[in-house]
Amino acid sequence: MIELKNVTKRYESLTAVDDVSFTVKPGECFALLGPNGAGKTTIVKMLLDFTRPTSGSLSLSGIPSTLAECRQSVGYLAENHHVPPFLSGWHYLLRCAELLDMNRSEAADHCRRIVELIGMQGRENTKVSTYSKGMVQRFGLGAALMGNPKLLILDEPTSGLDPIGIREIRQLLESLKDQGMTIFLNSHLLSEVEKICDTAAIINRGKLLVKDTISSIVKDGETLEDVFVRLVKG
């Protein structure tokens, strides 16, 4: 589903991603972990062709990430998601649906289901400027789920959510995983990752430290947090 081959990204003298290679199989729930500035968001941006790698190649469903077609069934939620403040949540979702070539009635049906899924019934018609950060995040997740994508790329999806919201998002991701959706998760919440994901990769200073199943990475008597700290601190 996702393939990175010897990907390097340099910003002048800074190497944000250094010769990283890994694959994510269809139906896998994968977590990309690393401290701040490790290069996680840069990898996500390269997957979506928001920035080009200095060397190496990336592909989604076998299609190079530089081609728009590769994003045909990809949902994306950005870290610190933003929505135009003058739109209502409903109109924002409607726009996202229309951009996926849905007609008006099909888009409206789909949006109704999404609003229910993200638990925002009754608030969808008010302007985004009146929403809390968590509500904006929920609508962002709703937009990512538009069109029933096969691959979901989530950059810090629980950012700004309260513990109940985090739990709801986790439950939602678990149900999506059960439906066979491939999930690529960038998160700092290691306890949540441990509960949801099958595989994980840890990167630090742009270098891939480990990529394996969670059960292989975490040894008996350890938590993912212990492994993370041990690997990152060297």
Partner: protein, 282 residues
Amino acid sequence: METSKSLPTITRITKYTLIDEVQQRSFVVMFVFCALCVFLVRGCYQGNYMVNGQILDAGTIVRTLSKATFHVIGAGVMVIAALLSMRIFRRDRNEGMQACILSKPIARWQYVMGKILGLWVLSTLFMLILHSIVFLITSINLQVFMPEYLVASLLCSINLLFVVIAVLLLSLMMSDIIAFLCILGVGIVGFVADGIAAASQSQIGQAIVQQSVGQPQSELTWWKVVYVLWPKLLGVQQLASSLIESESSHGFRPIYPLINVLVYCLILGALLFKRFRNEDIV
């Protein structure tokens, strides 16, 4: 990507650009202010004007004033188009729409094309509405019908396309306000140079040149080349306004300014697409 598949996407982005701009308070204020200013021109049509001791007839007054208003509106809307274009990429970035659109199976060129068309259509409508106010004033109050006035307005929209593309391109390379000022500078220099050129072509101007130089200069100098190649925004406006002139006066002026501005649109458009293709989306 096939053109038939690209077209609905470009149309949607164009529509969203239009809707988003119209919802901005600053746009509404600008539009109402401009419309009120054009309404104020109404009073100018009712005065008695005398040139060389002769009172001008109503038809001449209407056409002369309408032409003057035409040029003022044309130049003014160019400034407004630059103001609208300079912040479009930044706003889309800050409000998350750029990432939202480009994370879908939409190519960058489709996004840029949608933005260009949205801004062009919006500024053309803006100008057409203002010109229509003048058209309605002359038609209803003075019973002088000038449908060619609206045709001229549409022809003038080529200038708006140039302004939109140029400001969008520059806003990717420098701060928004500098991009705006650069294009304002290009426009002002072009208008002044065309004004000087027009004055030097007049009888008085030719006489002054002959007195000071002796013989009219015909050799090619670098500034003449720069002048010829400079974006001919005023030239396009003059070409368009020549449509408004009465039948007895001179017809269509040479179409070089139109070709000049269209070539600039193509070159700057190609540069804009190339530049945006390599732009990092944040």
